[in-house]
């Protein structure tokens, strides 16, 4: 599916591929697809890819504009229209799964954002951060107004960080290796002393605990599938 996608994306948009330094539309769509799949299958929220989102949005607008100029009944037009639909679905689905995770883990997401160092990249895009903050405030206000403020004085607060479950990093994920990795510790906290170590061959597929390969996902060395 990805090949078909990128080919079409590139031939309708050749004119604006130069302005964003080196990335061709085909690469851009591949990037989006990668981010989308990773986000969809990882139990926790990953780093935001707002440049990709912005570029794809730009591409979509361009493609829509180009389509307006095509005369009615052209067979090529419907192929491109389908293409736009597919890309837009990927983009929406990507943003949706991020938003769902933000809503599900909002206290933890905000906490991580707070404890993040100066230079570290932010997990959330500015829009997502605003959304998360509003969601937190809204939910807190609601709980206060309906029940908490009518409770005894020592019980009027709820520690959201404790009350809302954390993402389960020990869940298992399927992954495909993109860059060869040596000596990955599979079971770091087993009882017997022998460490269990594997090498990940390029192109091979595995089912592993998310926690052990989380750094590889964010560096792009493996792809969740």
């Amino acid at each position: 599916m990805s090949d078909a996608l990128s080919d079409d994306g590139s031939d309708i948009n050749q004119d604006d591929s130069q302005e964003d330094v080196i990335m061709t539309p085909a690469e851009l769509i591949a990037k989006l697809e990668e981010a989308w799949l990773n986000e969809k299958f990882s139990p926790e929220l990953l780093e935001n890819k707002s440049e990709v989102v912005e570029c794809v949005m730009e591409q979509l607008t361009h493609m829509e504009d180009n389509l307006q100029r095509v005369k009615k009944g052209d067979a090529k037009a419907s192929v491109h229209r389908m293409e736009i639909d597919r890309i837009r679905f990927m983009l929406s689905s990507y943003l949706r799964s991020r938003l769902q995770k933000i809503e599900k883990f909002f206290p933890h997401v905000l906490e991580r954002e707070k404890s993040r160092g100066e230079g570290d990249p932010s997990l959330l895009s500015p829009e997502e951060f605003a959304f998360a903050k509003e969601y937190y405030a809204n939910t807190e206000t609601y709980l206060k107004a309906v029940a908490l403020k009518r409770m005894p004085p020592n019980l009027q607060t709820v520690d959201m960080l404790k009350a809302v479950p954390e993402p389960c990093l020990d869940s298992f994920v399927f992954l495909r290796v993109k860059e060869r990795q040596d000596n990955i510790l599979v079971e770091p906290e087993t009882d017997d002393q022998r460490e269990y170590v594997v090498d990940l061959e390029e192109g091979s597929q595995h089912l592993m605990r998310y926690r052990t390969i989380a750094p590889l996902v964010s560096s792009g060395a493996v792809q969740l599938i």
Binding site: S50, V53, E54, V56, M57, E58, T61, K72, S78, R81, M82, D85, R86, R88, F89, L91, S92, S93, L95, R96, L99, E103, E127, E128, A130, F131, E134, Y135, N138, T139, T141, Y142, L143, A145, V146, A147, L148, R150, M151, P152, L155, V158, A163
Partner: protein, 195 residues
């Protein structure tokens, strides 16, 4: 027994487990809060007694305190679970809820919903600059460009992308771009005809 009423509240939600929103149980909530208040008052008097040396009261104080905590936890769980259901409704029905659903919500829930709606809308507007992206559309991967739909009720005129205006009349059948009618299908105005 303590905490019985609050488990009843939780059970009520569990019984309608398919994401349906039962009516807000104002009465149940009030009873639990009353129970908490009386537990708290009893504890206050016992704590004062215990301070004067009656250490035999401490276990019962602890027990009551545990019940208080449990009540608090269960109530927040009840309220929070309802919020999640209401949130799911936003994605299903769009920003205007059907009257029968709204009827089951309390005033504060309606307020929460409208705030959530606002946050979501401003998020979608700000996506990627420009006029944003409606991410409540395109819920399923697109299979075909056009789909056949039947109107289930009169909806009036409807404009599609190329400017053509069609009249959606009850029982009429149309061949329309899928991305245009997804919302209407979910609202029950149109029905996807699979032949």
């Amino acid at each position: 027994m303590f905490c019985e009423k609050v488990t009843e509240l939780i059970r009520e939600l569990q019984r309608s487990s398919d994401g349906q929103l039962p009516a807000f149980n104002e009465d149940g909530l009030r009873q639990v809060l009353q129970e908490m208040e009386s537990l708290y008052e009893q504890n206050q008097t016992d704590v004062n007694e215990a301070k004067t040396g009656r250490s035999d009261l401490i276990p019962s104080i602890k027990l009551r305190h545990c019940c208080l905590l449990r009540n608090q936890r269960c109530i927040t769980a009840y309220l929070y679970d309802r919020l999640l259901r209401i949130r799911a409704l936003r994605w299903e029905y769009g920003s205007v809820l059907p009257a029968n659903v709204r009827f089951h919500m309390c005033a504060e829930e309606l307020q929460w919903f409208s705030q959530y709606k606002k946050s979501l809308a401003s998020f979608m507007r700000s996506v990627g600059g420009g006029d944003g992206l409606d991410i409540t559309q395109d819920m399923k991967p697109p299979k075909s460009l056009y789909i056949e739909v039947r109107c289930l009720k009169d909806h009036g005129e409807f404009e599609i992308d190329d400017g053509t205006v069609i009249l959606l009349k009850k029982n009429s059948q149309h061949f329309l771009p899928r991305w245009k009618c997804e919302q209407l299908i979910r609202q029950g105005v149109l029905e996807h005809v699979v032949s």
